[in-house]
């Protein structure tokens, strides 16, 4: 039951996020055709930023879900990942 609920919540979050990103990117590409590059780039840039930050937000959402489910080990694991990634971005370049 918990499994299905988690998958459903995260899945819906991703779908909404993906739709928003696609909408912004689409506006950008429409502007590219109709108005030219400078205005289009602004929309495409924001669309890409929203897309890049989605997995991070998804992980924060999961952290909250685990808290509500009282799965403290999973909370700790997810929290440590978030801290490591945030920490690494703050003081040194992160290489994939």
């Amino acid at each position: 039951m918990e499994t299905k609920r988690r998958s459903f919540i995260v899945g819906q979050f991703l779908k909404i996020s993906n739709l928003l990103v696609l909408l912004v990117l689409l506006i950008g590409f429409v502007f590219l055709i109709s108005k030219g590059q400078p205005e289009a780039e602004s929309y495409i840039y924001w669309g890409l930023l929203m897309m890049a930050v989605t997995p991070f937000l998804r992980t924060i959402l999961l952290f909250g879900i685990y808290f509500l489910e009282r799965k403290f080990w999973l909370m700790a694991i997810t929290g440590m990942t978030l801290i490591l990634i945030l920490g690494s971005q703050l003081w040194m370049p992160f290489s994939h």
Binding site: G11, L14, N18, I44, L48, A52, L74, I77, L84, F94
Partner: protein, 263 residues
């Protein structure tokens, strides 16, 4: 050329989603050789496109109940830790030797996977699987510490060698945790977005990604991942296994050649 990148990205996204890798193995050579994009820029675009693939595919795979979220979170921690360790020790390890060693490791893994005629299914949960609530859908997860160790090594390799860790994630889940291959590739798709997210976000803020090209590639990968996720449910496990073996061989040879060519 922007349109050509968009079209190729659809293919790369479909292929990457099928095998849980993200598509960089196709994208980076295309961007550097055909589009004449500098390697660092190509890597930055590839990272961003991996996020696109992950976001798109994961939304679908979650609905198909193919993603094991706790396993993904647990293994992600290992990869991130390994990547950070890799940053510190990069330069201390001979990258050429590492490329060759792990290239042959992937070829050996391809041989093992090719030899397996049926899925390896776990028989008993490791105690940590129960302690950390990792096990879902009545699956038994074996060799938890081993899988986590493989993730740390994969993270180190990704930092030291500048490669994606997706292939090692799928291998660890398939071979060590004994998850079904479709679940392994879907869970890997879910994971790779997180590890690519931080870097790609920084690259965007630093202005290192050409916006139009990045937008075209990401949109293509997004669309490709959408098709790829639908294809996974239609393809047989044996067919998927053959595709993955092919990818292992391709990447293994690529790594060996890079090792001998001095990276």
């Amino acid at each position: 050329m922007i349109f050509a990148s968009f079209c190729l990205s659809i293919f790369a996204g479909t292929f990457g989603t099928l095998v849980g890798l993200g598509g960089g193995v196709i994208l980076i050579p295309f961007l550097t050789i055909v589009m004449d994009v500098p390697l660092q820029t190509a890597i930055a675009i590839s990272l961003l496109s991996i996020v696109a693939t992950s976001n798109s595919a994961a939304a679908r795979f979650l609905g198909q109940d193919l993603v094991r979220i706790p396993v993904a979170n647990f293994l992600e921690l290992g990869t991130v830790l390994g990547a950070l360790v890799g940053v510190f020790i990069s330069g201390l390890l001979p990258s050429g030797v590492l490329f060759i060693f792990f290239g042959f490791f992937l070829l050996f893994s391809a041989y093992q996977m090719f030899q397996s005629r049926s899925e390896m299914i776990g028989k008993e949960n490791h105690p940590l699987a129960l302690r950390f609530s990792l096990s879902e859908a009545d699956e038994k997860l074996e060799k938890i510490p081993g899988a986590w160790f493989v993730m740390v090594v994969a993270g180190i390799l990704s930092s030291v060698l500048g490669i994606g860790a997706g292939v090692f994630k799928v291998l660890a889940m398939d071979r060590m945790l004994k998850l079904p291959l479709k679940v392994s590739t879907a869970t890997s798709n879910f994971m790779i977005g997180m590890t690519a997210s931080a870097s790609s976000f920084l690259y965007l803020l630093q202005g290192k990604i050409p916006i139009l090209l990045g937008g075209a590639v990401s949109s293509g990968m997004f669309l490709g991942a959408f098709f790829g996720a639908r294809l996974v449910s239609r393809i047989s496990t044996q067919g998927l296994r053959r595709i993955f073996v092919f990818v292992l061989i391709l990447i293994g040879i690529q790594m060996i050649l890079r090792g001998f060519n001095g990276n």
